[in-house]
Point group: C2
């Protein structure tokens, strides 16, 4: 049985558990061990001399089976402990771990924990962070599947010119140059022509030359794109539904992780507050020709959204066209601005989205304005030549989302085996 | 509303649809158009002269809205048609498509369809193939989530020596060599130490130098790994549960695709038939020292499984250790053979799986036997030094699975934007 199932088991039952010896404490007449399995922790008390010697010999992280009797113990976590009657290793004793997994919070520095990720990720707080990620992805998918979206899998090896051209990994593809996809943007748009509503959960790659707490060379992108919208507010409404679904799933499927990490799970307002970029600049006292929001601006806007709207989320719409990629749809009544948006979560960028161009002539004009060749995008432009509805979408970086939820200072804290400028192993 | 919702709408209702003009037919006094949306097709009849001119002007694949009255029409598909009263383009008329999407089966050769994938994938048969894929993935995930598995996302950029070393894409990673992951094998094993039960749906990369109908440079791998098994038959039982879940989801969520493509959805026996490799060789009359099964052998075994066990699936266990990767667990009573298996689906390999080594000393011995350096695997070996339970898993290639379900001659037929020796666009 699982550790988490003990709470629903009658006191006095014979129980069997299997897992890792998470912690040992040897007192003068009794030994305690904490067993860890995929469901959580269970305290086992061992009084028999032979069993106590076995516990002493096995060491932390040894994989064992434990048999015993479930007893009430007000001092134990959850008020339950197993009085051990048999204990056996499943494999040979484990070596002493390179990190101390039993401490309530990891004491080692991040580089040490990343070097020893195969073991360090077993720490309950690291496990819990990823459980938030897995629950979020579950909520993302189920919300979209319920709304008629089709899950897609797009090429990560691309020969087509990519979105921006900068920070791209190049590789030798059977003697030709190819690139790792920085996003599924162009593919998800083409597939709106096929399925109308699509989403993808997959890796994206950025050859990010800066060493920051927010950037990774590979991260998991949650991508959405759909057709037959009127304008970008339909995309914002879908973003809101997806966000609510992700948070509902976090509450329902990762309640233990929420509790362990002390996550303040945000409420999602019925409608997310929206401010125009132009007004956002005014509100933070920035010059009206600023092309982007600085981090301090985003923090100030986040605080304002919380105070004024009681919302942890704020949508900033209308970013200047000059700073947005070529496929961005302009604001119809004033083409200096765009029908695109960023979503701030507690004052930090969480997602970028918007309405895209859908008329082929608009694409060719936008590429020309950007100094990019239409020829390089010919396979993509075919989708628009042959009928594309008004459409839009957004993307959420999974690891960054979890970092914001948990308040992690560094996105690497919540990533399985992060990749960056300096790190390609383990 | 959606085309598929017409069947549940009262005759005589005013209806509005939006989608692509899939087909037009202009008769002497009346025009028919077939509208395609994400749910399917709807027939619209147009009698008014002005509307008929609009239909003639717009051309196939134009994106339109149609208003009209739902009427019973025994001659129409589904016995229903919409008598159009208004029709308006949402964007300008589409150019003539490079492929004829309205034909019941695509008439163009595969290279043409792949060159024009942005449009060719709109063909109802191509869409349906991917709907089988999406439904399969849904069933894969829900089965595993119900069984306590955690979804993971592992690095696709790896610096560690990879599984086999052959057919690997190399890239420049900030001035160092890195590789694209050929499978999440080593990572999913390490994560068994963290979550016990893990799965991943993600891209894998093979620099496959052969031009075959079965190989792609990128495909979607459905990966499973879990701990606390007794031996590989526990893995086969989990494979069977996942397979049943995938097929249930195909039946429930892709019924239209199954019907359109005439898919013979296989039944899954309560227990999959299993034959030992040694006995499989005998059965097909191969020499007893053959290290692998040839395609003709697999076909013969598939036919035998169908005849003898009434099963479209056959598990071949015990493949020779000499042909399996270093992490493979030997058969305890005869280490020439392994606790690994292949699953044949209608006589073709669908999945490979098995029990893995879990003792650190066994890993070091296996690497030495293979002439591989333990140093190169040090981060991975840490997981075993610090306590790993007996474990195993399997992988299924999504596109190959769909190709077998549909009987597609070439896996590219059922892949969104396939990648191979010759193709990196679109």
């Amino acid at each position: 049985m699982l550790a988490a199932e003990l709470a629903a088991t009658p006191i006095g039952s014979e129980v069997s558990l299997a897992g890792w010896m998470h912690r040992r404490r040897q007192l003068s007449g009794v030994s305690f061990l904490v067993l860890r399995d995929r469901s959580g922790l269970a305290q086992v008390v061992v009084k028999d001399g032979g069993l106590r010697a076995a516990v002493a010999a096995l060491g932390e992280e040894s994989v064992v089976t434990v048999h015993g009797m479930l007893t009430a113990s007000p001092a134990a976590p959850g008020g339950l402990e197993v009085v051990g009657t048999r204990l056996a290793p499943i494999t040979e004793p484990a070596l002493t771990p390179p990190v101390q997994l039993w401490r309530p919070s990891p004491q080692e520095g991040l580089p040490t924990r990343l070097d020893h990720a195969a073991v360090a990720l077993r720490h309950p707080r690291s496990r819990a962070s990823w459980q938030l990620a897995a629950a979020s992805v579950h909520g993302f998918r189920t919300t979209l599947e319920s709304a008629g979206f089709t899950e897609i899998a797009t090429p990560k090896l691309v020969g087509m010119a990519t979105e921006s051209g900068a920070n791209v990994f190049e590789l030798d593809y059977f003697g030709r140059a190819a690139y790792l996809a920085q996003s599924p943007q162009l593919y998800k748009q083409m597939l709106v022509g096929v399925f109308e509503r699509v989403f993808e959960v997959g890796p994206v790659f950025r050859a990010e030359p800066h060493d920051t707490v927010r950037h990774l060379a590979q991260y998991t992108s949650l991508d959405v794109e759909f057709g037959f919208i009127d304008y970008h507010h339909d995309v914002i409404a879908m973003f809101r539904a997806v966000l609510a679904g992700m948070l509902r799933s976090v509450r329902e499927r990762a309640a233990d992780a929420v509790e362990l990490l002390g996550v303040d799970v945000p409420q999602v307002p019925e409608a997310l507050p929206v401010i125009h970029f132009r007004d956002a600049l005014r509100r933070v006292g920035a010059a009206e020709d600023e092309p982007d929001l600085e981090p301090a601006h985003e923090r100030a806007l986040g605080a304002w959204a919380k105070e004024e709207h009681g919302s942890d989320f704020l949508v900033v719409e209308g970013y200047p066209m000059a700073k947005r990629p070529f496929y961005t749809h302009p604001q119809p009544d004033d083409p200096r601005w765009s029908n695109s948006f960023d979503v701030l979560f507690r004052g930090l960028e969480l997602s970028t989205g918007g309405q895209r161009l859908h008329r082929p002539a608009d694409y060719r004009a936008a590429l020309a304005t950007n100094g990019q060749s239409a020829e390089a995008f010919s396979a993509y432009l075919e989708a628009f030549d042959h009928g594309m509805p008004p459409h839009g979408g957004f993307a959420i970086g999974l690891e960054r989302w979890v970092a914001r939820l948990t308040g992690a200072a560094n996105v690497r804290e919540v990533t399985l085996f992060p990749r960056d400028l300096h790190r390609i192993t383990p």
